[in-house]
Amino acid sequence: MLQVEHLTKHFGQTNIIDQLSFSIEPGEIVGLVGENGAGKSTLLQLLATISKPTSGSIALHGLSYQNDLKKVRKQIGFVPQDIAVWDTFTVEENMIFFEKLAWNHRSKEELHNLCQDMNLFQWKQRVSTLSGGMKRKLNLAISLIHQPNLLLLDEPTVGIDLKSRIEIGQYLRRRAKEEQTMILYTSHDLDEIQRLCDRVLLIGNDPFYRDSVKFF
């Protein structure tokens, strides 16, 4: 379980996240919504240990972010908003690269299956020749190599077609139910959020989002 208490983040004088508290249960998919600049990416980076909160505490399965940083990191899968893969490598090479640097060993077959599960079949194809949707799938697949308990996805479906969106959504649902993975998911597509998520977390002050989210 992920527990966030009184989380606050300032950049200089600006208060991006203010006294935010929430929790996520195992197997739960939570949608994170808010206008541009609301602080969604900022929150995900805090939860991913990439940046440090101004105050407040976060704990993952009882492990404190402050004291057990290394153990916490092993359980986190972070899917960056930018596509973070090696462009010159093939899909296979990308998977092997990150498997070699991962804490746990995965066989080549397991890696291959991981991509297949996401309907990414271009195993031997170079990333630079893949479509945007395929790259997004690979971006997600790499983050899953070390079998994280907490999956943080920053707009993973930006710019991809409906079919790929649905495929990614289905995969995430399956994963949450089968492996009891906690998933925090940001998107500007409220339909998608509605389809996929068990719960919605709203940040920022935009009345449009407030009103829209009320209908869930």
């Binding site: 240990t49 990439i50 990191r73 972070f78 596509i83 973070a84 090479e93 990150f98 070699k100 640097l101």
Partner: protein
Amino acid sequence: MKAVIITRWLFIKRSMLSFFFWLLLPLVGALLLFAFVDVVEDDSYVPIGVIVEEETELANDLYQEMETSDFVAIRETEHDEAIRQLQQHELDSVFVIHQGYQEGIQTQQRTNLITSYQTNRSYAYTAVKEMIVSHIQEQGGRYQAVQVINQLSERYRGESLWSAEDVIQTSKQIQAEEQLIHASFQYASQAEKKDDEGSRWEIWHIWALLAILSSLLTMDWLIKEKQSFVTQRFYFTKLSWHDYLLLNGFLYFVIWLVIDLVTYVIFSVGFDETMGVVTLLSYRCMLTLLSFCVALVWKRLYVFYAVSFLMACMCGLLLPVRDMHVINWLHPMAAFLDNQITIGWLLCSAGVILFWYGRRRRENAAS
């Protein structure tokens, strides 16, 4: 380390050609340039035609004296052929040692011993003429001494104590021992070059310069990789980003060492150019650390390439004046070329990397 080797291999196999090009550049480049310099040096001898009309000891002496000169290549030819080549500027100038040369010297009749030909483009004519004149004077002087001594001894004792050979032999011996005046002809730029000693290190000079360039350019992976969004993923890998970079730097160091070992063997076996192993090791160490530093500092690839070429050029340009105190002190190659352990640049680079590593480590643990 195994993970680093495998992941690095994924990068290297994509760019094998450029990888090996830069890796072998110092070795192959030094060999090629060295061969080229040798060819150019052969070409830089001025061709002089010599026609020897008599087979005597003194004529032969003169011929050999000309041959030992540092800057001319003597070609013995026939008269007509020599003139033809001179007209086509294949020969710089032509000297004819006439029939009767030895007798002329011995009898102090020093006219018409030599005929010389030159053109308006003759470059070495005056120098060779000077050399011949001084040689003839030397030879003639010895025979003059024979005459004088014989005249004196005849006058005072009525008999000759010294044979002509004795006098000449003694005179040569004295000259060899005294070496009062030693004239040698050289190009101005080669004035400093002493025998073989000066050129002994030249292949290592070329190598050291090319090694700077190629070490820098092979470090470009660091710039390319640190620009990528992929760096965000290294929070969730067993190697942190700074460890990953450092271990890869070390891997490159090891690869370089292997190539250096091959270079060392080739240069010492093939060219008899010895170099201290520790000197070489410290130089390689410094190069790796320095290139790593430079790659850490710059963000853009083209700026990095520009800086690398600039650094290599500066090192090359400052090489001829590195005897100046300050430059010798600051020049990264100076210690290596003096066959000494490179310390200053090595420690500086290591310091910068240590500082960077410490800061990265703290940041990573605190986030």
